[in-house]
Amino acid sequence: MMTTTARTHGQPQLRPPAWLRHSLVLARRSLVKTTRNPGPIVNGVVTPALFMVLFLYLFGGSVAGSTTDYLQYLFPGILVVGAGLAGMVSTGTNINLDLKNGVTDRFRSLPISRLAPLLGSVLADIVRYLLAVAILFGIGTALGFRLHGSLAAAFAAAGLAILFGFCLSWLTVFLAVLAKDPNAVLAFSFITFLPLQLGTSLAGPTDTLPGWLRAWAEINPVTHVIDACRALLNGTPVGGTLTTALVWCAVLFVVFCPLAVGTYSRRQ
């Protein structure tokens, strides 16, 4: 946040293009709102942390034989889910609230890109994801999670979780500009996100799942991102999962970003 604000106002010779400059101003607004009303971000950290503790002690013994081993398996998935959730609630409801109460009308009557209000919120999400990832790393470490890969690989895993969160945010944004009111956004998001987040290799390997669920879990982009993060954090071979994960990130972004901006521009 610090570096972005400094870039916006500091060196005029290095001015970013207008759409990015305006997005950063609006990202800052979104973060100020988060500091005033931190509920959603607390939610975004507490929910995955709760999943982590529950799954750990519920399934640890049966799935992996011990909670220590299970934590090594479970934690990377919690990180990915956490990064996705931290922004979902605040970005979705805030954008929808803006549409409802007329703030959007003011933005649209200003000479700024139609992308800026949406991108601003998603850029602020990146900061929220970073925070969530850092806190979850702290909790995981306290519970006994240990890095087995290199430090660089750990950063790559965190980066992947955040990148995925950024790309998935556009789905949330799209839902937000479609929905009539903030409650509908929440309902929509939970219906979309629960199967997306839980129908994965999060809690256990997919090969024991019933056929239909296994088919879904193996297509599910979240599974690929979790598998790639798990490999990076545990120092095991990453293989093709990372590429699949990155391709999915690109697909989510390329599909939902234009859809969201288009719907937002047309909404009257």
Binding site: H22, R29, R36
Partner: protein
């Protein structure tokens, strides 16, 4: 082109099956206030949203500050501001932060944006509340901040959508002063309102709109004249004279005067000739008068006559007199 703050020709807009606008033509010379007057659902907000580039018209054309709203929306947005019932400021931010943010979105460097915000906050009497979140502002403060927010970029044309809706009368007067201030600064203003009094008090020209059509337009005085029909109101010093005075009014105008409270008699007259005759006869019979007036119909009466809303008999006679 450029002598107009904004001008529209044959603007049309359909929502589902209703014509929100059905060929609206109106224009305001630069620096003037145009009052768009009409009931709820007449098309006022649609008109503003098209001119502010938030909505695309289905037909017709419109230009703001000389730029076409469909083909050059970016140019238009650099010169306009929007404020009123459907726009808003951010509740969670402070008043100051709201204005600084808008300044930055208009590419003012942060320092200038802060200065501009401080100037506007003091001009609108919001200095003390500047660092408090807007959520704690009163309705009047919020409306003032909203207007301040629209002036950050020194717009040439300002659209005010029912700016005084929900304000109590004292705050409304305050807002009117600010709108007069805009006009004094050479800003062109489009003001929508349901208050006839408001249009009369602020507008150089009034356009009356109903069911998406302009049904009358002109200066407030022209509109009143268009409907015509003067009214005489006489208040008597001694209530005991009421019957005698009523008989005189009936004799002159062939109508039975309305008796309102406070011993007032109200009757419509065909012209000032009848008025002078009434004055003569009252004097001859030595009837004491504490108040006597000859006036054009109020905008309320004009509006009801034009929109065909349920009329009182008095409205009927005033229409006939025209």
């Amino acid at each position: 082109m450029d002598e107009y703050g904004f001008d529209a020709e044959g603007l049309a807009k359909r929502f589902d099956k209703t014509d929100a606008l059905d060929g609206v033509t109106l224009a305001a010379p630069r620096g003037q206030v145009l009052g768009l007057l009409g009931p709820n659902g007449a098309g006022k907000t649609t008109m503003i949203r098209i001119l502010a580039t938030l909505l695309r018209p289905d037909g017709g054309r419109a230009a703001v500050a000389g730029f076409d709203v469909v083909r050059q929306p970016a140019r238009v947005r650099q010169r306009i501001a929007l404020s009123g019932q459907h726009t808003s400021v951010d509740e969670e931010l402070t008043g100051l932060a709201n204005l600084v943010m808008i300044g930055q979105l208009l590419d003012l460097p942060r320092r200038h944006a802060t200065q501009r915000a401080a100037t506007l906050l003091s001009r609108f009497g919001l200095e003390e509340a500047a660092r408090r979140p807007v959520a704690g502002y009163s309705g009047g403060m919020r409306r003032r901040l909203d207007l301040a927010a629209s002036l950050v970029g020194r717009p040439e044309v300002v659209f005010l959508d029912e700016p005084s809706a929900g304000l109590d009368p004292g705050k409304r007067e305050e807002l009117w002063q600010m709108i007069r201030g805009l006009r004094a600064d050479g800003v062109t203003v489009l003001l929508t309102t349901q208050y006839l009094e408001e249009a009369d008090a602020l507008a150089d020209t009034i356009a009356v709109i109903d069911h998406g059509r302009v049904i009358a337009s002109g200066t407030p005085a022209e509109l009143k004249r268009q409907v015509g029909g003067h009214t005489v109101t006489a208040r008597l010093t001694d209530p005991a004279d009421t019957d005698t005075a009523a008989a005189i009014l009936t004799a002159v105008t062939d109508q039975v005067p309305e008796r309102s409270t406070h011993h007032e008699l109200v009757v419509s007259v065909a012209g000032d000739g009848e008025f002078f005759e009434i004055v003569d006869r009252l004097r001859r019979d030595a009837i004491g008068i504490s108040e006597l007036s000859l006036r054009l119909p109020s905008l309320d009466e004009v509006f009801h006559a034009l929109t065909g809303a349920p009329r009182t008999p008095a409205d009927d006679t005033s229409t006939k007199a025209a």
